[in-house]
Symmetry: C2
Subunit: 157 residues, 2 copies
DNA sequence: TTCCTTTCTTGATGTACATCAATGCACAAG
DNA sequence: CTTGTGCATTGATGTACATCAAGAAAGGAA
């Protein structure tokens, strides 16, 4: 762990960086965000005092998020490895957080069709095991809308 | 930890229960979901083999989610206290998961206005510290839309 | 101060998805 | 077999929000 001071506007991490730092905000304000394919910014979270901010990607895989300082800030910086040493159970939780992160970014930036395509890639087996209306409910759309998406996708072949 | 077998349709937890179990799915399929004020169901997650399913509420506060079995399932059941004993750091992560959970449910079930109202309740200070467009980006709406929501709310007094 | 940049607001129009309603299919129970 | 009940599909219509465009207000740097 080391403590650093950054000024407003400082960039702590870029999307695509292989970088597994966890920031704990002592004072100031961070934000983490992504930029989608249309160039639009989506803020994933704000990090005010006493929050921790991190891109919850697996260690040693490229990150999804940008992290920067909205105000002058004082931060404690941990490496993820450092935290994992303390307790390996944390690994499962981190993976779970990652799933949630992806889900939030999907809900904010993707259309029903894109969300469905992502879903069948991520959970190919589940698609066969549950009724369509449950998948719709998971994706945040109505069964009618999902049915039309499905129809559209099957046409396109 | 104990191991249990449940059959399709079994309800493991209801919204409002004070119940801090964590289920690890050995075989079968669980789902967790909420029901909003309009009576609409929103699936928070599916729990296939090797997933863990839990309502990430603080221990000893009422849960947000229903959890039930979509297929006959074999589960390992842990109490949250049991996990916390292993490593107190997990607490911070659980709190974080809870924030994510709330966020996902908001994105799936609430209008822009409701999301904004929830935001200013949860982060009253941040509202003053960041430009509106960032809040819009966090909420998943355009600055224009948020501006109109704000206008509407200020009228109503 | 003036200029420049960024933020916020307001209006007009477009669109993805919701809602409502009807029909067709399964599969389960009698 | 027949009847019922829940699920999926399709069409017609409604609406919340996005997009596009223009102007007003609010700092920041010279």
């Amino acid at each position: 762990m080391k403590k650093i001071t950054v000024s407003k506007g400082a960039v702590l991490q870029r999307k695509g960086d292989i970088n597994s730092n966890v920031f704990i905000v002592e004072d100031g304000l961070l934000r983490s965000y992504t930029i989608d394919d249309k160039g639009k910014e989506h803020i994933y979270m704000f990090g005010p005092e006493n929050w921790f901010v991190a891109d919850n990607c697996e260690p040693n895989t490229p990150g999804e998020l940008f992290i920067d300082a909205i105000e002058d800030s004082i931060l404690k910086v941990y490496s993820k490895e450092e935290l994992l040493k303390e307790s390996p159970d944390i690994n499962a939780l981190l993976r779970r957080l990652n799933t949630m992160q992806t889900r939030i970014l999907m809900l904010m930036s993707s259309s029903a069709k894109e969300r469905y395509e992502h879903f069948i890639k991520t959970y190919p087996n589940i698609t066969q095991r549950v009724p369509l209306k449950m998948i719709a409910s998971y994706l945040g759309v109505t069964p009618e809308a999902l049915s039309r998406v499905r129809h559209e996708l099957s046409q396109r072949e």
